[in-house]
Symmetry: D2
Subunit: 345 residues, 4 copies
């Protein structure tokens, strides 16, 4: 049963915060967390030793965690936070205000949860052609944009197309926007991650892939993403955890008279800790209750293989949420890159 390598099946999370476990040492991962009006920012730096331990590239990571960008007040807080974090991140990556940028949107405009990249690009202000004509006032950076579309639509390997566009534009750094995959239902559309560790477009699809990174291109590659889907296997595996939390709560409140008055749909088990013993788990879920998380996931993956690749789990309001997130990232990037940028929207 344990012969399946999760990495080959693309079940790996794109979110660095989902990798972090308690036994990491300061030399491996330096991290700092702060809050801005209820929005949480997590700064992380993974060292070479941390990189080996986590099997994730060394470099700088920033994570912004929020609840709901379709709420107008929170939208503004998240946008403000993004601008502050992104401007500082550019400095942390040793980029100057006069450095030129090529902004690339990965993904498929015709598939809602995968359209984050192309839709964000529609918001991006480009100035490179105006620089060439000498027509631009002060306070604007030299920017160009490129939407390579997906290989299924073009027949061309995405990484190669981007490399050829870099060859034409010769930017000082690259910004890549992409939809990400989470390992936890509760993070979907509620997290923005940025990093300077590069990306391999279309990971998991073919063999002929090109990494886009400082190492391969000689310029900094900043990737900005938001998780927009989770895997069916993830959802089912998460549910096993929720079942434990549910019974933990039930057992802990078994004699609470007050509890019996709360209707069950008002009892929130999801934030409750898992307090079950091994034996209780085995009683509730039998043989499966004896497996650890990783083995549960592998079993479920094996069970769902015949249908997993055809289904995805997304928020019900995904169309509207992707619109808001693309607006936020696009306008946030514009305001971060150009000192004098004025938004209409």
């Amino acid at each position: 049963m344990h012969t399946i390598d999760l990495k080959n099946y693309g079940f790996r999370t794109d979110l660095v915060i989902e990798d972090i476990t308690e036994d990491l040492r300061e030399e491996e991962v330096k991290s700092k967390r702060y809050e801005n009006n209820g929005v949480i920012v997590e700064e992380m730096e993974i060292s070479d030793s941390g990189s080996k331990k986590l099997n994730r590239k060394a470099g700088l990571y920033r994570t912004i965690i929020f609840q709901d960008v379709t709420d107008k007040d929170q939208y503004k807080i998240v946008e403000d936070t993004f601008i502050k974090v992104f401007k500082k991140f550019l400095l942390d990556c040793n980029l100057k205000e006069t450095d030129s940028a090529l902004i690339v949107g990965l993904g498929n405009d015709h598939s809602t949860p995968d359209a984050l990249g192309p839709k964000t690009l529609e918001q991006i202000l480009v100035t490179r052609h105006l620089f060439q004509l000498g027509e631009l006032e002060k306070g604007y950076r030299n920017t160009a944009s490129f939407t390579p579309d997906v290989t299924g639509t073009t027949g061309i390997e995405t990484g190669q197309l981007i490399k050829s566009a870099i060859h034409v534009v010769k930017p000082n750094f690259l910004i890549v926007i992409d939809a990400l995959k989470a390992n936890n239902m509760e993070r979907v559309t509620k997290t923005i991650q940025m990093s300077n560790t590069g990306i391999t477009p279309g990971s998991g699809v073919g063999n002929n892939r090109e990494e886009l990174s400082y190492e391969s291109l000689g310029i900094p590659v900043i990737v900005i993403g938001v998780p927009t889907i989770v895997d069916l296997v993830t959802v089912v595996s998460n549910t096993v955890q929720y079942i434990y939390k549910h019974f933990s709560y039930k057992i802990d409140h078994i004699d609470s008279a007050k509890e019996k008055l709360i209707p069950s749909h008002k009892q929130n088990y999801i934030d409750y800790p898992d307090t079950l013993t091994k034996e209780e788990k085995a009683e509730i879920l039998g043989m499966i209750g004896n497996l650890d998380d990783k083995d549960v996931k592998e079993l479920i993956m094996e069970v769902l293989i015949p249908i997993n690749y055809n289904l995805m789990v997304t928020p019900k309001e995904i169309d509207f949420t992707i619109d808001r997130l693309s607006m936020l990232l696009g306008q946030g990037i514009n305001k971060s890159l150009h000192e004098n940028f004025k938004a209409t929207k």
Copy 2:
């Protein structure tokens, strides 16, 4: 644990074929099944006694079951089948070739899996205004169309808007297109259902709902739909069944030397029968293995209540599939209603 009424939570399937159990008698449900090039057609008539037993309205139901309308060859077979079934269904509903129709598209154009109705309407040929001008050649029926949009966008109860449009148009019958909900992941985007038993638009959302049916309107109401999503609870409950099938298969093939040569991702458990004993189920899934299907579903519903309403499960290619299905239904309806209809697409 057993106090939740599934009906109040909208987990009920819209598909009549998912209701059918083996203990139904001929007086309750008459049914007939045939095949057309691999596409299956199921004709059903639910009597008053069957209606009580199944808790589903009495009347005529037709179900078309297929694999993949994004395949060009199968698209044509499904379209042909749809036209044959729908033309005969109109006769079965005692409708004449000269009867006028109002075609209504339910759902939200800005939410991909809910856009089936509005997108199908974009394909519909309307002739009512040409009839009024006397400008139409023979071979065309009098048709009008109406897209009421959703209450969240208009602030108006959908059923009332449709009734007021019927009052203006005064059609001989109504055709309603809507996205449906299935109780089984494998039916999503792979089933077309038509019935003459009416619909209550926006079921499950508010109280102020209007049924659209022969009883309430005095004209036949034909509903055509395709399941486009399943519920998170459904997906997890289905997985419990798949786990049983998986172990059934494993146990039955435990000594098969040949089997060991087949890589696990090539072993298809999903179509394998559940051959486990009660004891085996309890061993594998503990307490949960002791529950019957309905109780498993209620437990999972209770566990997932805090997140269930925000997530949905759809096929990964849903945007493209909805395009194809809308084209198929729209053009199929045109070709069924108008003898002389010529399609460009």
Copy 3:
């Protein structure tokens, strides 16, 4: 040559400011003009006697004249002006802050210059369903929206559909958004007109039309529109005027040595007055130079009849401009109707 009645051919302007001639008296049309940061507002009240003289309905008209809403600074000035003018206009129409509104978007979403109504509606906040559930905080008005689509798409007369929606919603007043037709190329996408005199949807298309007005509905009907196209006949007729201005300029500057140094494409004839004598016009344009404006237009209409109905003249950036105008009108209406409205965009 003079037997064609311009009114039958739909060449009449929708803009009241294009009707105004110098010989109107204070009893016929009261008007007031002021400026807000370069944006001009024209307030007008047409009396019954003015109505007869101008052949345009008596009532209140407001016109906002600007240059370019695709410019970010000007967009904000125009939006501010719109909100001030519209709020005051609602009071001038004797509407209270608690009066409920139905907002209707006329036009065809699939034809860019005609999509102003449907696209504005996408921005409109509706609250009627929340009022019914008692879920709305203070500072919001009861609003609903309705997009009837065009008769060519539905087969149903637009005015009748709107009347039936009014019957369901029972609002205190109606707001109708529509794309207008101008008689002058320079006003296209540069003018917002609002009036309380009603509208006849689909004017010029059929006979079976329903006027929407206080007289026919018993509630105030406010129409807000922007001209988005001009007619081919209008464009060619306008050019005759430009030819006169061009030669006026040339003749007046014939001996100016300085003038000869200005390249002709920098000489702006369009704002220059027509100073030609009758004889000069006849010399330049022969028989046509002898005709007055109305007769020139009729001649050109007669010449272009075979092709006029198939062509339209619009700004080259019309897709983008319609996006900005719809955003401006939609958000402007929201901010005017709801005291506590917060915009994300």
Copy 4:
């Protein structure tokens, strides 16, 4: 007045058939014209001497002339004709059935009349990635596609982006789809032109332009286009011709009693020959009546310079017509390039 060079102002037609005058000799332009069910095909070969005389590149040109692709019957005839002409054209360009193609769509998806290229590309079948995986059955050619977007959106010179994509894909030939400009209102959306003479993307916009042609790339460059707009100057100039035709008709029928019974909007002047004498023209249009066509155009251009660049003339149904034309070109190209292509649409 005659100092403006028309070529600098982009008023030049893209259509070779609008260049053809009667005094061309067989050594300059070889041409052949035939008909297919009312659709006209014009084959042309311009020699080096013809090239000099016409100021248009030497090579092969094919023109398909029709009335209306929104008519379902004519759509099919035009598609059939396109496929026949295009397949033969590929052979005339010495291309083999196994030669690989890169198909490029020029223009701006967000501006309706300029969206022909990107919208056609949405229909194009690509196979290059399947060839690389060895997954393709026989009867398919190796194809890839690329949509460079416009410089205003990307900041990057279009020709350079295309060259860099060619460098990645290394196709045997290039197909470029673009919206064209006509010099005559009656050709708009009614003509398909194909040529092997290359194109300079974004002609008329900047200086930094790259020609795409056999000479610059070393592979055949086939350009397929449809005129979708005319210039305001063109429309007004055309009207002067129509005025002459109108008076020619009037004078020729002055005593016809029968004529007087035909209402003027049923009299079609546009196909009537211009039979006026010089004196009659001068009488009707004065000084302007004395100018030849080219001088009239220059005068009107000078008059309209201040507004010309902001306005365009298109058919009223342009959104719908562009949809049909993109479908026709996309599916027509697929059926021409791939022997075994099966269309769903």
